[in-house]
């Protein structure tokens, strides 16, 4: 079974803090994704990575950066957290770069920025 894990289920941070969200997958998948999920807006892609050290902006990259130094780990960084970044963050992985492969999601991190 593919397993995608995220470092925290719940996180509370203050405005202006630097926030790291970690995601690890154990199935040697090439692609990894970060989404945020907000009521009424569905799943919006923040960043994705085709492979180690490769990254590409998604639909809403502003205020975020990512790091992929190892194949199994994809980190999302909020350089200076703001209240409008309060959301559910979902990581996903996929075996390789084609939309015809299914995505495996982690359990999510609910981030609150106060």
């Amino acid at each position: 079974d593919v397993k995608v894990t995220q470092s925290s289920r719940y996180l509370v941070k203050r405005t202006g803090e630097k926030v790291f969200l970690e995601c690890v997958q154990d199935m040697d998948h090439e692609n990894m994704f970060w989404y945020r999920q907000d009521p009424g807006l569905g799943l919006r892609l923040i960043y994705f990575s085709y492979d180690v050290k490769m990254k590409e902006k998604g639909d809403i990259p502003e205020g975020y950066s990512v790091s992929r130094e190892k194949k199994e780990r994809f980190s999302l960084i909020l350089e200076s957290a703001s209240t409008n970044q309060t959301s559910m963050y979902l990581c996903a992985s996929r075996i390789r770069a084609s939309p015809s492969y299914e995505q495996y999601f982690g359990p999510g991190t609910r981030l609150t920025v106060t």
Binding site: G40, G42, A97, P99, S100, E102, Q103, Y104, F105, P107
Partner: protein
Amino acid sequence: GQQVMQIPQYQHVQEGEDFTTYCNSSTTLSNIQWYKQRPGGHPVFLIQLVKSGEVKKQKRLTFQFGEAKKNSSLHITATQTTDVGTYFCGGGGATNKLIFGTGTLLAVQP
């Protein structure tokens, strides 16, 4: 850019009633995937459709891909309380990304 709209946003049914959610894309899709997210859970892959006019069934769930490959539907026959959750479609297009719809939250009253 490519957009995928999903309706309705929310549906409340009595147990035993049928349910349908629809996805419409602004562009032709290469494929469409459907995911289910249980309350408090994460999206889980249900199925993929690739061919024009394709219809697939999983027990009480019927998935269709339109002839023009721009729309899709998920129909649940005789809903059960275990069907509650949010159903997302994700459309593949010219890029390697899936564009997800906004999701339909299904509530089933016993």
